[in-house]
Symmetry: C2
Subunit: 501 residues, 2 copies
């Protein structure tokens, strides 16, 4: 009987997942294909689908089935995937039912207004005009956190949406260790400076960049009949359903790095989606675990593989042949150094892999303080600049280059930033373990064979789906709980020779 209830529950969950997947296609289309004038109708479509997902997951019948399964003897001896599916259905269900409908609607109404105000404020470099909107958003997210946390930590309640089971009490020391390890290194590298880009002022025709980037997804192991690559304003990866995962990038004629590493990054996300277990499609066990684990896959391919010498031993001759005008006098070493330039900077999305986590640490400290009430929105710009001085040795000249640079807070994504740093750290720890398991890994990469690493990731990470929280997946894959050590080792080993520090 209880197994039957479980199957009925999963039928409801799969049904909601199909509805959700429809909204993914609509979102993908909105960013890549939709004519601008279609936006209002698209809003109606997405709102209707969001309501349908909510209705399915919070229906009384769902709650009854859930309780029936949870209290059953059957569940105790049920397979791990079934226990995970039940626990995850409970987690999502509770998050949804704990939120008062009025709060959900108020937040939904506020986000577009706030995001628009943010875009205007950034453009005009006018924090004052954004301040009331951010104050309202912080208040709404505090209300949301209180409703979900039921007495627990407010910030954890918000992080849980992106990184289920993560606790700031564990994440914060982790970020502190990154800052402690990176700040001196960044200072030392900053003192060395960088030469001009060897291809400065030259052109990389976009048609040839398309050819170059178009071959990457298949080379990394994405099925050509199960994926596609398009162009959008901001690169992203979107799974539509089993057998259909899509990535985007953008092209700049003056510099191919953005498009190329954009594809490497998004293809890493797409490999994760492709590697999920189809037998569990539509249930939590058939879904990617979390944003941080996702980011570990994208950063691994973008940085740990894609900015490494083995990769370029194979790929640089091809790239050079495609762009002879720009690269004829640029040798492999100079190219490798140019794609691994480190410099403290003010803008997160332009940061290199060494300084990137410092940008994140700043944001996590500040948003924690905004949510626990120890920092006012009024005081945010000053606090931001203080943090940048401390972490990166730079003072933003204005708020557009300071606390107005990211979209996240304007749309209420508090608790998201930490996943970027966790992803970087998980990627380094996974890569160390993969090297240990695959002694010829660099040789395979250097002859253009990515299959061994893909297979290892599928086995250790992708097929796990949502069994265990993110940190546990990394621990099981690498043999120890995640910490900052592997990342710091990777960074020091790579950059000490490059910069002589």
């Amino acid at each position: 009987m209880s197994e039957q209830a479980y199957q009925q529950l999963m039928a409801r969950v799969r049904d909601a997942s199909v509805v959700q997947s429809i909204s993914w296609l609509l979102s993908w289309d909105q960013e890549t294909m939709m004519p601008a004038a279609g936006a209002p109708h698209r809003g109606k479509q997405l709102a209707l689908l969001a309501g349908l997902v909510h209705e399915r997951l919070t229906a009384a019948a769902t709650a009854e089935l859930l309780q029936q399964v949870e209290t059953s003897a059957w569940l105790k001896d049920a397979p791990a995937h079934a226990r995970t599916n039940v626990a995850e259905t409970r987690r999502v269900h509770d998050r949804l039912v704990r939120l008062p409908r009025a709060l959900v609607e108020e937040t939904a109404r506020t986000i577009p207004v706030s995001q628009h105000a943010w875009a205007e404020a950034r453009r005009a470099n006018d924090f004052a005009s954004f301040k009331p909107h951010l104050e309202k958003m912080v208040a709404l997210k505090r209300d949301e956190a209180r409703a979900i946390a039921v007495g627990g930590d407010l910030y954890d309640a918000l992080m849980d949406e992106f990184e289920p089971g993560a606790r700031i009490a564990e994440v914060a020391p982790f970020l502190d260790a990154l800052v402690d390890g990176l700040v001196p290194l960044v200072r030392a590298i900053g003192a060395k400076g960088n030469p001009a880009l060897p291809w400065a002022g030259r052109r990389f025709p976009i048609e040839r960049q398309r050819v170059l980037c178009g071959a990457l997804p298949t080379e990394l192991g994405l099925r050509p009949d199960g994926s596609r690559l398009d162009v959008s304003a901001h690169p992203f990866c979107q799974r539509i359903g089993h057998g259909d995962v899509r990535i985007t990038t953008r092209f700049d004629e003056a510099d191919p790095r953005g498009a190329y590493f954009g594809v490497m990054h998004e293809a890493g996300h797409a490999l994760y989606e492709q590697g999920l277990d189809p037998a569990h499609d539509g249930t939590p066990v058939g879904e990617a675990r979390s944003i941080a684990v996702h980011e570990s896959q994208s950063r691994l391919w973008e940085n740990l593989v894609g900015r490494g010498l083995p990769w370029w031993r194979h790929h640089y001759p091809l790239v050079r042949a495609l762009f002879p005008e720009a690269l004829h006098d640029v040798e492999l070493d100079a190219f490798h150094r140019a794609i691994n330039r480190v410099a403290p900077s003010l803008i997160r999305v332009e940061a290199d892999e060494v300084t990137y986590n410092l940008h994140i640490a700043v944001r996590v400290r500040l948003e924690r303080a905004l949510i626990d009430g120890s920092l006012s929105v009024e005081a945010l710009p000053g606090a931001w600049n203080d943090e940048y001085r401390r972490a990166l040795g730079l003072t933003p000249p204005d708020d557009a280059n300071g606390c107005l640079q990211d979209v996240h807070w304007s749309c209420g994504a508090f608790g998201y930033f930490a996943t970027y740093a966790l992803g970087n750290v998980y990627a380094a720890q996974l890569m160390e373990a993969a090297r240990a398991a695959l002694p010829m890994l660099d040789e395979a990469v250097a002859r253009g064979d990515q299959a061994p690493l893909v297979a290892w990731l599928v086995d250790k990470v992708h097929r796990r789906g949502s069994i265990g929280r993110g940190a546990r997946i990394i621990e099981d894959a690498t043999g120890r709980p995640p910490d900052a050590a592997a990342f710091l080792r990777y960074i020091k080993q790579k950059y000490a020779p490059l910069y002589g520090v």
Copy 2:
């Protein structure tokens, strides 16, 4: 009270329309963008949406509201749009509820099997292998027609899905008049024969065809920020929602006619969708009336305008400049004649505008007989060949070039074919009326100004939405009920000088 019930009813109708519009996007994506391996998941998504639309339109609450509004005093004096919306909601509701669920499911299961069998049978030129599938489909559609018709004509019940309110008793004489008028003309033209295509063996680079075709939609009046053009195996037009209508075409390096007239045709459909009244978006009055009215818009732009001399006086210099290798020695008159070649042929989708309706008349006669039971599937190939001899003077060498050529019957679309001929006839009648209303129409077209004709069509056809059945919209726009006369006049005036007949 009753107006309130009407508003509630329309809220349900609009809600179903948004769900329906989501499935339009999914279908468009399936034909243009979706990786092949995404097909099974897409099937789940579309099935779920179809269920949601059905559920919304047939819910007990919908039926109660409908009855409440229909029996109210309010409706008698309600504006025309409200009365149309109620009547159309009733028509769609009754079609849906009259169909037994078992029949709907059986038909849904049968269509993909039958369509697959048809594709195989056509490829292998093996009618016998398709025969049992077609027999089953005819039986299912007869059951469907009986359920819907409630004692009325079976074929009308099927046509009603595509051309609401059409009656075969009115359409058949219409088709007979076309056949009577066209057969002698086609014989006479056939006796004259055609010279070789003046660009035979030359190339039209696809990149330049893209440039040429890419400019057409805007030139015809489609908003660039509200439409897009893509490539698909079969050209089509799909509205996604207000402000978002999409068309496709396909390219052939050896001959630009397919792509060019494909865009003209689909842009005609798209103009209709763009011209609908946004104030009634999501209700029947804000929707295109029928397939035949739709086809009148596409054929008007493709043939009546797009294959006319005024259009080419403006456009031929541009086309010739784009393809100098292929057209340097082809003068306007020769080009105009080449795009207006008439020849009796066996394949409908390759037919010219003169012979096209003969292909349709054959199909309508045969499918009527299949549905009323006077023709067996067994006897179909022979009957098909007899009809082709009579109408076109040709005998198909085999069934692949005969009764196996169209996809329609394999997917149960009985009652659809007549809309093609109605569309051609409506287009000619509308064009005559437009010429009378806009005496300088040819001059405007010849200087590249399509705005007067677009505005006339928006006013007379597009803004009507679904008020009145298709024939009534044509009557109101042209001052007389539709008949074959305008089409026959158009054909004779155009082709008599071209062929000296």
